[in-house]
């Protein structure tokens, strides 16, 4: 029986020593640590598309070491940018043993030429149509250097991910994807580039089946919806949420602030078990937000941020609010203003990261044209390390501002205020 080993390479939260020291000792809510602890979906989808005659081994290098002495028939490695260097090392070690390797995921999709130099084959784009073809070629001894998805995949054909294969790994969260695509096309994000601006949906019944499958393999699972922006299609969202209600789960999703504009949607979110919503606020500067997406979507919403945060959180739904620092107008005063806003608006779980020019996004092209991309290894593309020359601050100052701003929002006094705020909400709900 041929064996395929699927590997998720090790990644680090941040390369900066001061940040890591802070993170290790902070009173950060466990939510921040645990939310993204689930296992990425790509390997579980590939496993579902792999014929039964293959034996499958899954290694999450964040939990277990790769055994390079094992003789797999094929090694498939998925990676995002910050994992790329490690993915290439793993691939190299197996290739030295004449074991064929395949790279896929976001980074090999946006840097396919680079990935191609580091593996026998590269999957470029969505994997569902390509993987069965790749396996047939592999069996015939005709593995091609690259497999490229030319059109957007029809999610209604998507297989049931093999959640049963990771049940034993005891992740805090199980990821489910209901949609792909994001219409906002922000310049710092690769989602619209990879998945398209057109919003594609799974059938409501598919999503329900996935939740039921997770519940059948794991007692009391917590579900995280992996969609980059889950509630763009409000009618679909409402139909889905109605069907989720009887499943009796608590769940987390990523969306945009516009959910606050729809009272019916908010009520359904609460009723269906939504616990936390991740929302990207990015900046408080209208001018900077205007630069992030062409239709000025976020710039138009910024004046409603405080009101909408309150509308969502007063339902008993916590906001995991994401802000970035390092925009061209950012200086110490604007970063302090962001921290003050976070505290005053009582965002349940604030996240501040550093603007990062990921490969594949428009921001990288813009900064590269200005010769502002720093010569740093992909390991530094954590979203918490500075990888470009900031405008009003030095690289070191911006890195320092990240830690000092996080210290100002993750202190006990502020957390206790937030707890009292949410206690009142829950007592009155």
């Amino acid at each position: 029986m041929p064996t395929i080993c699927f590997i998720n390479p090790k990644w680090q939260i941040c390369m900066d020593r001061e940040f890591n020291e802070f993170w290790r000792t902070t009173v950060t809510p466990n939510l921040i640590r645990n939310t993204y602890s689930g296992f990425g979906l790509s390997i579980l989808i590939l496993a579902a598309l792999t014929p039964q005659e293959y034996e499958i081994e899954i290694i999450d290098e964040n939990l277990h070491q790769v055994d390079f002495n094992k003789n797999y028939d094929l090694v498939a490695i998925t990676c995002c940018t910050q994992q790329a260097t490690r993915a290439y090392e793993i691939s190299k070690k197996f290739r030295q043993k004449e074991i064929k390797t395949v790279l896929g995921g976001i980074h090999p999709t946006v840097c396919s030429d680079e990935a191609s130099k580091n593996a026998d084959s590269v999957v470029v784009g969505e994997c569902e149509d390509l993987w069965p073809k790749l396996l047939r070629d592999f069996e015939a001894g005709e593995l091609k250097k690259s497999y490229k998805q030319k059109e957007l995949y029809d999610l209604k054909k998507a297989p049931l991910p093999r959640y049963d294969l990771i049940e034993y790994l005891n992740y805090k969260m199980f990821w489910i994807q209901t949609t792909r695509g994001c219409p906002h096309d922000c310049n710092f994000c690769v989602a619209s580039n990879i998945y398209g601006k057109r919003f594609r949906l799974k059938a409501v019944e598919q999503v329900v089946e996935e939740i039921k499958f997770i519940k059948s393999v794991k007692i009391n699972p917590k579900i995280s919806f992996a969609d980059d922006n889950m509630f763009v299609n409000k009618n679909y969202s409402k139909s889905l949420l109605e069907k989720i209600i009887p499943l009796n789960i608590r769940w987390f999703a990523q969306t945009d602030i516009s959910v606050a504009e729809d009272r019916e949607l908010l009520l359904l979110l609460k009723k269906s078990g939504c616990s936390i919503l991740f929302i990207g606020f990015e900046s408080l500067s209208v001018d900077e937000l205007k630069k992030t997406n062409k239709d000025n979507w976020k710039a138009k919403k910024v004046k409603y941020y405080e009101e909408y945060i309150h509308k969502i959180q007063s339902m008993g739904i916590g906001i995991f609010g994401a802000f970035m620092i390092g925009f061209d107008s950012d200086d110490v005063a604007s970063i302090n203003k962001t921290c003050d806003f976070i505290k005053e608006s009582k965002i349940y779980a604030p996240q501040i990261s550093v603007l990062t020019p990921y490969p594949g996004c428009a921001l990288r092209e813009q900064l590269a044209s200005q010769n502002r991309i720093l010569d740093k290894d992909w390991n530094y593309y954590t979203g918490l390390d500075v990888t470009f020359k900031p405008n009003r601050l030095s690289e070191k100052e911006l890195q320092g501002q990240l830690v000092s701003s996080l210290k100002s929002i993750y202190n006990r006094e502020h957390l206790e205020k937030n707890i009292r705020y949410f206690k009142d909400i829950f007592k009155n709900n």
Binding site: P29, N30, L31, N34, K172, I219, N220, P221, K222, N248, I249, R250, G273, S275, I276, G316, G318, Y348, E416, I419, F422, K423, D424, I425, F426, K427
Partner: protein, 87 residues
């Protein structure tokens, strides 16, 4: 939290708190007992923790320190904490 009537009787407190935990975590009450781990088995995160404290505080008209909840690992320990506040 459903209003189930205030009882200071130990058995009723036990039953009521399990009912609160089941409602908030959306886990069947029959699978929650004193030995169940609050965070690892019930998956209670900090927001759910605040919700549980708020409902129990309101119901019994008591005050629970949030920091105490962080130190508690098992359902039985939480129930004992509430009982001690009611004495």
């Amino acid at each position: 939290m459903e209003k189930v009537g205030k009882n200071i009787n130990d058995e009723e407190i036990h039953k009521d708190i399990i009912k609160v935990l089941a409602k908030i975590t959306r886990i069947d009450a029959s699978s929650i007992n004193d030995d169940v781990l609050i965070r690892d088995e019930l998956g209670i995160d900090s927001l759910m923790g605040i919700e549980i404290i708020a409902k129990v505080e309101k119901y019994y008209n008591i005050h629970l320190e949030e920091s105490l909840l962080l130190e508690i690992n098992r359902v039985g320990d939480f129930i004992n904490l509430v009982k001690s506040k009611l004495k």
